[in-house]
Structures are given as C-alpha cells and as structure tokens.
Amino acid sequence: MNRFWVLFKSTAVRLSALYILLFAICAATLVFYVTAMSERLLTSQIREAVQQEVDQVQRAYDNGGMNLLLRTMERRARQPGANLYIIAGPSGDILAGNVASVQPGVLDEQGWTSLPFRYQRYSEGGQGKPHMAVANINVLDNGLRILIGRDLGEPEAFRALVRQALMVALAIMGLGAVIIWFGIGRNALKRIDRMSAASKKIMAGDLSQRLPVGGSGDEFDRLSVSLNTMLGRIEKLNEGLRQVSDNIAHDLKTPLTRLRNKAADAIDTPDADTRRVALEGIISESDQLIRTFNALLMISRVEAGSVAAEMSTIDLSAIVADSAELYEPVADEAGLAMTTDIEPGIEVQGNRELIGQAIFNLIDNAVKYSAGAEAGGEVSLRLTRRPDAICLQVADHGPGIPADKREDVLKRFVRLDESRSKPGTGLGLSLVEAVMELHSGKLELSDTDPDAATNRGLAVTLVFPLK
C-alpha cells in the first residue's frame, strides 16, 4: 500500500493521471455534443413525418369532410407501428383514437406540443408505464381537435445506447490509464529506487559506486552518465588527497624530526662556531621543507584548474631553447653533454611559467639521474611536430625506470631511489603531469635505449595536442 502511495506520488504517474483526466473531459464533451446533435436530427425527422400526416389528414378533411377524415385516420391507426391519433372535442375530451389517455393539458395546445408529453396506450389498460411522445394538434373549422403524434421510444433508446457506449469507453480508458501508470510509473520508480540506493552507498563513503545506466540513452541514462563522470572526478581528487596526506605525513615527519634534533643539539652546544654551523643546517633543512611545501602548493594550484591559469600562444621552441641554455652548465658540471634538436617556431596554447617549470623539472631529473652513469653521459632535448601532436622529449642515459614502476613515479612523493640519496622533493614528475593535464596533453615514459642491458635510460615525452 505504501509502495502504491509512493507510486502515485511519482511524477510520471501524476502526469499521466492528469493527462487521462483531461482526455476524459474532452471525450465526454464530444460524446454529449454528438448525442445532442443526433437527437436534434432525429427529432426533426419525426416532426417532418408527423407534419406530412397532418397535411394528408387535413387534405382528407378538406376533400371528403368528416367522413373521409375518420376513415383515413382509422386506416392509419390500424397499420403496424402506427402513430398516435386522437380526435378530441373542443373541450379536450377524447372522442376517438388509438390512445387511452394523454397528459392533461396537452389537448388544449395548438400546433406542436411545446415539450414531449406522457400518454398511455389502450393495450396496457391504463396500468402500464407511460410513454413519451411529441405531437401536433390541429384544430378543424368545426372545433374538433386532431392530434397526430409519434412515440419517442427511438431517440430515448438511442440516448441510452450512447450513454452506455460512453461508460464503456471511459471504463476502457480508465483501465488503460492504470496499465500505463504501472508500466511507466513502476519502471521509473524502480530506476529511481536503484539510483537512490547507489547514492546512499556513495553517501556512506563508497566512492567507487556508480549509478546504474540502462543503456537506452534516455534522460535517466544521461543523468546517470553525467553523475558518474562527476563521481569519477571526485573519486580521483579524493584519492589524490588521501594519498597526498598520507605521503605528507610520512615524508615530512623525517625532516621535521631531523630539524628538531639539530635544534636540540644546537641549544646544548657551548661553542659559538659549532652552534652557528648547526643553526645554518637548520635553516637549510627548513628551506628544503619550504620548497617541498611550495611544490605541493604549486601542484594543487595547477590541479585546481584551468580557470586560474592564463593561457596564451607561447613559443615552445624558445622555452625549450631557454631551458637548454639554463641547464647546459649544470649538465656540463656533471660531466654530461647536452644535445638539442629543436624545430623552430613551434607554438602551443599554454602558460609559459608552468610549461617552463615542467621542462626544467624534466631536465633537472635527467641530469640528476644520469650523473655517474657509465654509458652515454648525454641528455638530449628534442622538440618535433608530428601530424597529430607536438612532442617534446627529454631523454637521459641513466638507470631508467622499469615499465611496471612507471605509473608509481607519477605519484606524489614517490621516489624509486629508496635511500633518498639524490636531492629532490619527489614531486617533480607529479607537477609535470599536472601541468600536462592542464594543457590537455599527456606525459609518456619510455626507455631511451630499449635494447641496452643496463642503463636503458628514461625518455619522458610531453605530448601537446594540436589546436
């Protein structure tokens, strides 16, 4: 019962109920109109027939006087399905005819009776139920009144028939409405129920739940698909957030502890010079922490959105050349050669600062991880235009990243170098990935020398979409 009430409350059912109500009103109006029209037509036919007889009877009287009139009427009255015939005196008492009695007052009228009237037939001995009729009353010049009328049995029966048909039609419509209610309403209700159930699980914290999609591509499906896309984005952000807070807690605890210990040592050091060195260590440790936080903030700023970053047409070739120039001495100092292959005049839509920082990060990594590697000793920068995209590749000949670890290194704070011997925040590639996402591009990791036994090197390719 409760379910039924819910069903009734659902929008689809309310709408179809309203629709059916309006439809029924229209249908009823139409039926009544048709009935009225048909009745009028029937009545006018009856009147015409009666009028003809009145004319014939009048003619008989005119030609043959009372004698012929009586004979004519008698003959007609005997015919099967005869009309009503009455000859009445001037005061309205019935003298002859095939009718036992009529409603009082009818015989006093002249011409057409204003309303249908009741009468009783002989055969029923005055006890039967009254019949309805319309009639014409003609007053002869000798004062006699001639009533010729016709029973209304036919239109009455017709009206009853139409009413019955209307009732049947309405009943069928009502039944159809109920079936439609159940068809549309129950289906819609079930889908909404499923959606509510899924939403409740999501509200309870299970962000991996998705709303059901029926596959018909209707409004419900479209709604579900949009909501699912939204959920996917929320889940990703949420997952990122959780992972970041885990990693922050883990990764910042170590330097903070170190910082605290250094400060504790410094307090107890009597020698001014040793204390100064300890304090400087503390400052540099703090600076590293500030850098880490800045890098984290930068990533979340980039991820927060395209709304905030100003995009313009930028000369990517010039930025890559700048980066090479900036890092050439660093590579040189690390004993590495830096080679460039930059196609000139390549432009992309983007934010110069962010792309610059992404490229710097990549070169910085390349230099950092190839330093000391035996083979190669080269960092190469290549900017090319492909038919479908613009590609910037930064490749080194360092140890590289095994294929199964490539997804991991994009995560915040993840560094394959477990000992953390190289300086860095573990955020570089995360920032590059965030920047590429902001530019609708992507980041691809591969081997520089896939055939080498060791030191396959890492080649990072930034793929910018063509406009």
Binding site: R291, N294, A308, Y327, P329, V330, E333, D364
Partner: protein, 248 residues
Amino acid sequence: MTFQQDDHALSLAETQPAGNVGRMKILIIEDDLEAAAYLTKAFREAGIVADHASDGESGLFMGTENTYDVLVIDRMLPRRDGLSVIAELRRKGIHTPVLILSALGQVDDRVTGLRAGGDDYLPKPYAFSELLARVEVLGRRKGTPDQDVVYRVGDLELDRLAHEVRRGGKEIPLQPREFRLLEYLMKNAGQVVTRTMLLENVWDYHFDPQTNVIDVHVSRLRSKIEKDFSLPLLKTIRGAGYMIKDDG
C-alpha cells in the same frame, strides 16, 4: 639545498652592517598578528623600521598619511582586500613600491597582483631572507640609477650600451646571459639578490629554481670576473643568495 662551498661565503648577518641600511622604513599590512610580530622583529634586526597595520582600511590610512619606502601587503585582508588597498593608493597618486604576499591557491596570482599595481610578489610560504632581499631591492629602487650607462663596483665596470665588461681596464668577454646576470647583480650592488630573483630578472621565469642551476651560472660568471684578480667582488650569502660589493 646545496650551497657553493667557496671561501667568499658569508652569512646573512654579516651583510647587514648597522647604520648602513637603518634609514629604510616599511609598512606591513598583515592580519596574522603572530606573523606580523615576527616580521616586524626580523626587519628591525636587519636594520629596517617596520610599522604594522592589521586590516586593509587602517593599512590604507597609514600608507596614505605616512611616508614609507616599501609596503608589504598581504593579499587577503579583513575590511579591505589587499589588491583594493593598492589600487586606492595608486589612485591617490602614492607610488610607494608594493610587495604582495599571497597564500591564494591560484597559478596566476602573481600576474593578477602585478596588474593591480604591485611591484613584486612573493607566495607564502617564503623564507624571510627572500622577503628581506626583495624589500631591500624595492626600497632602493627609487635611488637606483637606471639611466646610468656604466655600472661600477670597485675596479669592475659594465657598459650597458656597448655591452662590455672590463675589470682593471682589461676586457672580459661574457655570454649574453652572463652579461645580463652581472648587469642585474651590479644594478643591485651592495644588496642581497636571491636565486629566485635572478631567475625572475635574468631568465624571466617566476618560480623557485629548486636546485643549484642558478649557482652554477653564478659560479661560471665568478670564475670569469675574478679569475685573475685577488679581490673577490661576487659573494655568496649563505641561506639567501648573492651580492656584488666592493669591500675595498
């Protein structure tokens, strides 16, 4: 963070001789009282007089009524937003250099801030040495002879028109970028410039370089200008940056 381990390295404190910079007066408009108290104290120790206003309206009033060398304005302030304070000051014809501090989480805060009339921008969190270096450079901007054709520090000369560098009359050939690096250092001679400031002004990228990339460029430059000379001019300031100065 790696430092150049060289003989010239000085600590920040050694670069602030009392009385030399003591005349600078700044206004800090910052609603975080603890941060403001720390800044005021740290600036005083660096020989800079710092007033403090804790909301936009009173900051605007103080900035209008008094004369300062530099205004340090937090972007988010109660009663009146930082950017609107700057706009109002500029409307009143007050062109005191403004440094904007911001913790807003947007990529283009710097651009927005500079467009609103700020002269420099520093995102939170920052190291005090970075803020100090920037405030000092801003504070001296008025007196900086931007139109000088030749910068001189000791016996080092940089001719901006001829693009020539000479030391003791002997020409030192420099790469274009090395020239710009030296030009910026000499323009701010006697002042600390940070690595971030160098990346901004020489390479035009506005972020923390994170690694020793700037240090390598500076050390290359140093080897060129000091190779044959006994008196060091280009000094490393530990925990802060670099300074070019003639001690002689």
